[in-house]
Symmetry: C2
Subunit: 565 residues, 2 copies
């Protein structure tokens, strides 16, 4: 009993410690203008003079060794099959392995501990875990580079501050939803000659063990929103990373477990469930009766299978076909430079990367006259070539290719249209064995819709000649409705055309970035402002982070009783 | 153009007219203490000296005539098969009939008009429609009596003020969710030497044509939440009433169409889709590709079929098995009087009516000593008998039986246990031909779980002897988890037992009313305070009215563009 009291006091102080930050995040979620709780620049002034070097050293210690930081126990062995797309060799890191029964039983037991921790206490614990992760942003960056192939800057930002911002967004949205209904009220109903007076109370009862299935390209950014959304709403989580990208999220799980342990809470509230390419446990976990919720990022076939599982609440981000509509612009070179960067960034291995570029056969209107389809394509190729061949930019923007299949797909894309820019290889000055593939550009006609209606994951740009902008809009909207889309870019200087695009894309539930130039790209979705995936088209059924993303994870249950007076 | 401006001015004035009420409803939703926008007492002082008589006259005009108030056009014929459970004869009211293609095409066309009406304008229009319905509460009451068999008081309250309160609750919850994200912001991100500044805006894009499928017992109360939730979020609605209870909701649809017409908005934003017992169009409507959302109240088989339809957002209230746990109480007679009323009310034809009464074999603890199982049952029978045989209460509390099958089920319940109170018939002084069935009471043992694990819709009370209260709790929770439950009542004076009940029932996502006596019943769920159905057990996947109930009906879509300056 004294033990319990001690726990509560400790936990409450974590909430108090982070209360200001949590409230700021709740406000940011409402305001939706710029907010970042975790600075995105890997500056020594912010993170410390030795942070980068220390992070690199820490990362290297994981190579060819057991990842022994997890506090979950009872492992059946040590496994791991990660490979570095930069080094072309195995990391050699191994993780404890557990049976599906162990994981789900542990999760079920932890459920009954975690559900009784108050929302405020949970918010404090979870925010504290992000603060611990912040201390390891550079280690996380190198771990991300060498599993996903991301360039250094993206690996730092996406896996570190941007992921933590999205996690904090989920915490704050969850905390807001959980405190939206009062804990207790007196319900006083006048009945004429007397009043009926009831004490009423409400509890947000969590749904149960949650499974978070990670992807190989964004192992923390795409995983933490679901993990933290389930945790803040009282559900334990089993984190099942992609077998190719375990280390980044393992660091996060380890820090979560550290904070849980310190608070005397069952560390199995968040378990890591590592597996290998040859022996994946995802389906067995997903179908287990104890698993009540699933978060998934990955391919549409598996995502759709998960969505149809009986009696589970499932949140998916699947594949999509993202379009750029080119109608008219103030500065064509700047526009094409911006979208060329979007295609090259991380070699197009982003769910938000553009794939289909719709250009009217009459060309693109500019202040200097109409630029023909062929000239637009030629200028685009110049932008791509200039970027990838710039030794100060190319290798760092492209990064490396995570999955050999992505490189194959890019190399074989030539069958889909007329190749106007061949995929190639550039040298990475730091990693001679890096798996590299520069973007390929193809042209085709709008009538060949079969060649561009599926996601071509990787650095593949399809320049599609349309009858006119109306056809461009119609195709972008149709593909989004039928095959899904996570982003859309449009360039137009005409107000009516802009309205037409907004209306058509809103009906296919796809966000649109208009006229982007400079240092902001259609690929980027900012926490606290941009919803990531709308949930309204086949690219996924969930959205980071709308209210549903947290409210579907718990159930309001009311109790009432006549007031004692 | 001038025409359009005029429309907007008119519509905005409806929002302004009702803004205070809408804001009050939003606050009430948050506060969750007592609030009623529509007075529940059919008092002449509130509703006018002649309101009751006028309503009765208005109802009678519908008998044996065409219901010609709807503004939707193009009917293919006139149909109707309603019968009065009080009169034992057909109402003879007919409604225009439309093909499924007509209805869905009309709906799709109306979608593009309605989605462009602002949330505030929609809120004004919808609230105004409720004010028009209020003028017809008595006509609605008689229409409800003679379709559902409800007693006069329930018919007035449930179909009139209580239904309108729940509709207003849905409007206010929807309006709150729709205005939760700002329409526009300037996103200003410091990048070190410069800032990236974007104009961002968000639109709540509705999902499309919605289908509201009504039930025969609560034709407005159970239907309007879904209808108004879909409408406030921009979706047109096709209202498909139960063929046995069309008239009450037809009045509501007519008033909605009146307000839409006055505002020059397509009246097909809300269409009535009447059908007959012999020729039901529900499945064809539900499966139609244009139908994107479905609200349903009814049996579990059909509800589960709807939930599994591909690509639809479905909200269900299905069947459940509601329990009363009897452990100990301060005043057993008052407790049994309360639950006897709950069983007799509308002859148990409520989704919230209790069915299973768990009583320990050792009896129920009271201040006067332990009362044995048999004595509790005997006292309960006395309460039932006293109530139904009281000529001033019985006929009005029981009402009439809507569906002959309900009467048959009650009469055949004797095979499920030992009958300790036979179902019977009492006389209704006003309606000699009323279909009446008084409650039957059976006893059984907890081991005969098969006999009480399914919903026995109607006035059937199973008194179940358990080993102890722990077994009572375990059974109530298990049945709720496996077969669903919408309500639970418990009587205990022991704090630990109460906590145990709360914990067990929260894990089966079932609300609990403790120790009710006097003029408040486990059957009642009040708008703005009690969630109706939790959505967490097999009794249904939706809840009146949590945030999900409205947020699942639209999708946030964002647009962004570099700021011009």
């Amino acid at each position: 009993m004294i033990q319990n009291q001690k726990v509560i006091i400790q936990v409450m102080s974590l909430f108090e410690k982070h209360e200001e930050l949590i409230n700021r995040a709740i406000s940011a979620n409402k305001e939706r203008t710029f907010y970042a709780a975790f600075p995105e620049h890997p500056s020594p002034k912010i993170y410390g003079e030795t942070a980068d070097k220390d992070g690199q050293v820490a990362f290297k210690k994981h190579l060819n060794s057991k990842f022994d930081e997890l506090l979950q126990t009872g492992e059946q062995g040590w496994i791991g099959s990660e490979e570095s797309p930069y080094l072309g060799s195995a990391l050699g890191t191994t993780y404890p392995s557990f049976s599906v029964n162990q994981l789900t039983e542990n999760g079920d037991k932890a459920f009954h501990a975690w559900r009784k921790v108050s929302p405020a206490e949970r918010a404090g614990i979870l925010t504290e875990s992000l603060m611990r992760v912040k201390e390891r942003f550079f280690e996380l960056a190198y771990s991300t580079m060498h599993t996903t192939g991301q360039g250094y800057m993206m690996a730092f930002q996406a896996s570190g501050p941007h992921a933590c911002d999205r996690a904090l967004e989920a915490i704050s949205m969850g905390y807001e939803e959980l405190t939206r209904v009062p804990e207790k009220v007196v319900w006083d109903k006048p009945m004429g000659k007397f009043n009926v007076v009831l004490d009423k109370e409400w509890v947000a009862v969590p749904k149960g063990v949650s499974l978070a299935i990670g992807c190989s390209t964004f192992p923390t950014w795409n995983t933490v929103p679901g993990v933290y959304a389930s945790l803040i709403t009282g559900n334990p989580v089993i984190v099942k990373p992609h077998p190719g990208a375990i280390l980044p999220i393992a660091l996060v799980v380890a820090e979560l477990q550290n904070v849980l342990k310190e608070q005397n809470i069952d560390v199995n509230v968040c378990q890591l469930a590592a597996d290998t390419h040859d022996n994946q446990i995802t389906k067995e976990l997903a179908e287990h009766t104890n698993v009540k919720m699933i978060d998934f990022t990955g391919n549409s076939v598996f995502g759709s299978y998960l969505e149809k599982l009986d009696g589970k609440t499932v949140f998916t981000e699947k594949t999509g076909v993202n379009s750029i509509i080119l109608d008219s612009c103030d500065n064509l070179d700047k526009a094409l430079g911006n979208i060329a960067f979007s295609v090259a960034l991380y070699s197009g291995q982003m769910c938000t990367a553009p794939q289909n570029f719709f250009i009217p056969e009459s060309g693109v209107k500019t202040p200097d006259g109409v630029v023909s389809f062929d000239d637009v394509v030629a200028k685009f190729n110049e932008q791509i070539t200039g970027l990838v061949n710039n030794p100060k930019a190319g290798p760092f923007v492209l990064g490396a290719i995570q999955n050999p299949l992505t490189k194959e797909r890019t190399q074989e894309a030539s069958k889909l249209g007329e190749t106007v820019l061949e995929p190639g290889v550039i040298e990475n000055p730091m990693f001679g064995d890096a798996r590299i593939c520069t973007p390929t550009v193809l042209t085709t006609d709008s009538k060949n819709i079969d060649s561009f209606s599926e996601e071509l994951f990787g650095p593949i740009a399809m320049m599609i000649k349309t009858k006119d902008t109306d056809e461009s809009i119609q195709l972008a909207s149709k593909l989004a409705s039928e095959y899904g889309a996570i982003s859309c870019g449009a360039y137009t200087t005409d107000a009516n055309t802009k309205e037409k695009i907004k209306d058509a894309m809103s009906l296919s539930y796809t966000p649109v970035s208009f006229n982007l130039t400079g240092a902001i790209y259609v690929n980027q979705n900012a926490a606290f402002s941009d919803f990531h995936v709308t949930g309204g088209n086949p690219a996924g059924n969930a959205s980071f982070t709308n209210s549903e993303y947290v409210s579907k994870r718990f159930v309001w249950v009311g109790f009432r009783e006549p007031s004692k007076g």
